[in-house]
């Protein structure tokens, strides 16, 4: 069977339906969970979707991180449950301490909404096994605070342990200033935690699932996850 993936909806989430649809397309069984509900029992994986939870007040993700459901998500993650954190979900996961670092204002000060190239840096994870290492992907970004920052030690750890899964690159696949529009340290677009079960990325794989919408390059993430769940025997 395919695995039950719970998509958490916060007040201000706007990609929960995209994520639900993406899970279906990848062969998983999606369901929604309102951020005040305790209903993770039986979940095989959790998706924290994009949006503007709590209007991004104070800092993006800072308030959502204290939602009742997030307490359960933190416990779920600490026990090794897979958590996919996309865009605002990535910001929430950093605020919750599930992932290191923080996402600050884009260096351009502008909200970015365009297609962006990424390079797959490590395909030996449950999130990226459907890709080739070095594969260039194109998927939408849509964020004002996507500039990944962490202290030097954290950045060295991420690089040294192969925990940077995606980097911003130009169309030719090179890390350049122009290819990294938000100014992220080391052009980081997506990372995993030390245990490998929590993945956060700013670009939107959930919006790159169908050719009619311009790209199918996001499918690999959802498909890798669903395949992993079926391999470990999720119901």
């Amino acid at each position: 069977m395919s695995g039950r993936l719970v998509v958490v909806t916060f007040p201000g989430s706007n990609c929960d339906q995209d994520c639900y649809h993406a899970v279906e397309l990848a062969g998983g069984e999606p369901s929604y969970l309102w951020h005040r509900e305790h209903g993770l029992a039986g979940a095989d994986a959790v998706v924290l979707p994009g949006g503007f939870s709590y209007g991004d007040y104070l800092r993006a993700g800072a308030i959502a991180r204290f939602s009742p459901t997030m307490e359960d998500v933190i416990t779920f993650a600490r026990r090794g449950g897979p958590v996919l954190a996309i865009c605002n979900g990535f910001q929430i996961a950093c605020e919750a301490g599930l992932l290191p670092g923080a996402l600050i204002r884009n260096r351009t000060l502008r909200f970015h909404a365009f297609d962006q190239h990424l390079r797959v840096e490590n395909n030996e994870t449950l999130w990226t096994s459907s890709y080739e290492r070095g594969q260039i992907l194109r998927m939408p970004v849509a964020h004002g605070e996507g500039n990944y920052e962490a202290d030097r030690e954290t950045l060295d750890g991420l690089d040294g342990e192969g925990r940077v899964l995606f980097r911003y690159v130009d169309a030719a696949g090179r890390v350049t200033e122009e290819g990294n529009p938000n100014g992220s340290a080391n052009a980081i677009a997506g990372i995993v935690n030390q245990e490998g079960n929590v993945m956060g990325l700013m670009p939107h794989p959930d919006r790159a699932m169908e050719a009619a919408l311009g790209s199918v390059d996001g499918r690999g993430i959802f498909e890798s996850l669903v395949r992993h769940l079926s391999a470990v025997g999720a119901r």
Partner: protein
């Protein structure tokens, strides 16, 4: 218990790129304020709280900063106790 007025300042950590501060810096230079050497932009949070003493008020605010009001990865905070707030008005 007394009511205290506090002002909490949250500022981007020194050394961290502050894109807003940089943009404002450029704008001030464009207006002819060539003497401006650096601009950092943070936020000020004014809050009133009940506590047994000024120290207790400060300690509570510090806990709030660590938990929610500031992000330790990117921000520093300063707490100033502005004074005792007027007691809340009671209806006659």
């Amino acid at each position: 218990m007394k009511r205290y007025q506090l002002e909490i300042r949250v500022v981007p950590r020194a050394g961290l790129l502050d894109p807003q501060g940089k943009a404002i810096h450029h704008a001030l230079h464009a207006l002819g304020y060539a003497a401006v050497e650096g601009v950092r932009v943070g936020k000020a949070i004014a809050l009133e709280l009940e506590a047994s003493s000024e120290d207790a008020a400060r300690a509570q605010a510090e806990e709030m900063c660590r938990k929610l009001l500031a992000n330790p990865v990117t921000e520093d905070f300063q707490i100033a106790v502005m004074g005792e707030a007027a007691p809340t008005g009671r209806r006659a």
